[in-house]
Symmetry: C2
Subunit: 300 residues, 2 copies
C-alpha cells in the first residue's frame, strides 16, 4: 500500500471501530452520567485504534471476515484506554496532557479516573461475552480469545510491565534485558495479543498463527522503540503532549540505553523481520505489511 | 442449620475457595514478584469468601455440583478483592486498615495498589475463561456467566455505585432512593450476581433463577444495611478496623437516614423475605437459608 492508500485504510478502520464503541458504550447521559462521561472522554479522545486495526488486519490476512471480528478488536481498545487512564494518574506517571487534551484525572478528578479505568477494563470483557454469546463464532473460540486478552493484560503481561517500568524510574542503571522486559510487557503484550486474536478469530492455521505471533512480537517492540524515539525527535503539535517527558521522568528508554541512531536502526530491523514473517501469506496480508512500516514511520 | 453447623460449613467452603485461589494465582515469587505479592496480600487477608460461598450454595440449592462451580465462584472473590483495594485508595475512601491489617496502598504504595487491583480484576475474567475452555460446563453458559459478572461489576453496577457513593459524601442530604441506589449497586450488584451465577451454573429453571435473583437482591441489601449497623455497633476487635468511620467520613447510611432501630428491622425483614423466596426449594437450599440469616447476624 502506498502512503495515501494506507491513510485511507486507517481512517476507514478507525471509523468502524469508533462506530462500534459508540454504540456499545452507555451514553454519557446513562446514570451514573459522570462515569460514562469520563469513560467516553478518554475513549473518544482521538486514539489511532492501532491495536484493533492490527487485529482486523490479522484476521483479514488469513481470510477472516472483518465484520465478525470487529467487536473483539474494539474490546482491545477498551483495555488500551483503561491502561492509559491509570498510567496517567498522579501515583503513576502523573501526566497532565495526552493527545493534546487534559488527562482523565485532570478533567474529572482522581477517584472518577480510577473508576473510569476500572469500568473500561470490565467493559472489555463484558463486550466480548455479550457479542460472543449471540455471535457466529464458536463459543469455545471466544473463551480462548478472552484468555488470550486477559493473559496479555494481566500481572504477567501489561500490568506487570507497567509495574517494572515504575520501579525502574530513577534507578541508576538497568540493563537491556530489563528494558526489553518492560517494553515487551507494558506495550508489547497487548499488541502481540491483538494480532493473535485477529489470527485466531480469522481461522489461522497453527503455522500461520505462529508467524502472526512473531510478527506481533516484533511489531510491538518496534512500536515502543519508535515511541521512545518520538519522545526525543517528535513534534509536540503532532504528539499532543510535551516531548522530552521520558528524560524528565528519568524513564529508561532504548535511546538512553543504546543511543538514538542504534534505536532507530533496531526498530527498522524489527519491522523488516516482522514483514518477513508474512512471506507465506498472500495479498490478503497487504495491510498487515503496511501497518508494520507505519508503526515506526508514524509522527504520533 | 444451627450456628455450629453453619460455622463448620462456612469454614469448609472458605477453605475450598482459598485452595483454588492459592493454586490459581501466580506465586509471590513469580516475576514481577511485587505485583503478585501485593495481589496475594489482599486476597489472603482473611476475607470471609461470602460471595463465592453464596454462589456455591445457590448452585447446590438447584442440584448443581459444587466442584464444577468452584472456579467461577472463586473468580467473584477476585473482583471483590480488587474493589476493596481500589476503594481504600487515598483518592477514594482513604483507609489505612482493613481486616486488622494495613491496606494495600499503605503496605505497597499507591501505584502498586492500583496495579494490583487492575490485575485482580483482569485475573477474574482470565480464570473464568481458562477453566471454562477446558471444563465440563457448556461454553455458552460460561459466556453468560462472564456477561452476568461483567455487568454486575461495571459502570452500571458496582463501579457506578462506588462513584455515586463518593459523590454523595459530604452532601447536605440525600434521599432514601439515592441511598438505595448506592447500596444496591456498590454492594448489592455483586452479591446478586454471585447467587445468580450459582443458579445458572447449577442448572436452575427460569422460575428458580427468578427466585434466586430476588433472594440475592434482598440479601445483598440486607448485607449492606448490616454493614452500616456494624460500623456503629460492632466491636473493633471483630471488625479489624475502627468503627464510626461512616460518620467521620460523612457517608450516607441507613442508620443516618432512617435511624438505627429501623435499619435493623429493615435488614431483618429483607432476610425473612429472602428466605421466603426459597419456599419452592427443597432441603438442598438449607445452606442458602442459613446464609441469609448469617448476613445480618454476623459480628464482622
Amino acid at each position: 500500500m502506498d502512503k495515501e492508500t494506507l491513510k485511507g485504510y486507517l481512517r476507514e478502520r478507525q471509523a468502524e471501530v469508533d462506530r462500534l464503541l459508540q454504540s456499545y458504550l452507555p451514553s454519557a447521559k446513562c446514570p451514573p452520567a459522570l462515569i460514562h462521561e469520563a469513560m467516553r472522554y478518554s475513549l473518544f479522545a482521538g486514539g489511532k485504534r492501532l491495536r484493533p486495526i492490527l487485529c482486523l488486519a490479522a484476521a483479514e490476512s488469513v481470510g477472516g471476515r472483518r465484520e465478525t471480528v470487529l467487536p473483539y478488536a474494539a474490546a482491545i481498545e477498551l483495555i488500551h484506554t483503561y491502561s492509559l487512564i491509570h498510567d496517567d494518574l498522579p501515583a503513576m506517571d502523573n501526566d497532565d496532557y495526552r493527545r493534546g487534551k487534559l488527562t482523565n484525572h485532570k478533567m474529572f478528578g482522581e477517584s472518577t479516573a480510577i473508576l473510569a479505568g476500572d469500568a473500561l477494563l470490565t467493559a472489555a470483557f463484558t463486550l466480548i461475552a455479550e457479542k460472543g454469546v449471540t455471535g457466529s463464532i464458536s463459543h469455545k473460540k471466544i473463551l480462548s480469545v478472552m484468555l488470550e486478552l486477559g493473559s496479555a493484560a494481566g500481572s504477567t503481561g501489561m500490568v506487570g510491565g507497567q509495574l517494572v517500568d515504575i520501579q525502574s524510574e530513577g534507578k541508576k542503571s538497568i540493563d537491556l534485558e530489563q528494558l526489553h522486559y518492560i517494553h515487551t510487557h507494558k506495550t508489547g503484550a497487548l499488541i502481540r495479543a491483538s494480532v493473535r486474536i485477529g489470527g485466531l478469530l480469522g481461522g489461522a492455521s497453527p503455522k500461520k498463527l505462529s508467524s502472526l505471533t512473531r510478527y506481533g512480537e516484533k511489531v510491538g517492540l518496534a512500536f515502543q522503540i519508535a515511541d521512545d524515539v518520538l519522545d526525543i525527535e517528535g513534534e509536540e503539535k503532532d504528539l499532543g503532549k510535551s516531548v522530552g517527558q521520558d528524560e524528565a521522568k528519568e524513564k529508561w528508554t532504548y535511546p538512553r540505553l543504546i543511543g538514538l541512531e542504534r534505536s532507530k536502526k533496531e526498530a527498522q530491523v524489527l519491522v523488516e523481520e516482522a514483514v518477513a514473517e508474512l512471506n507465506g501469506f498472500g495479498p490478503e496480508a497487504k495491510a498487515l505489511r503496511s501497518l508494520a512500516l507505519y508503526m515506526v514511520e508514524r509522527k504520533k
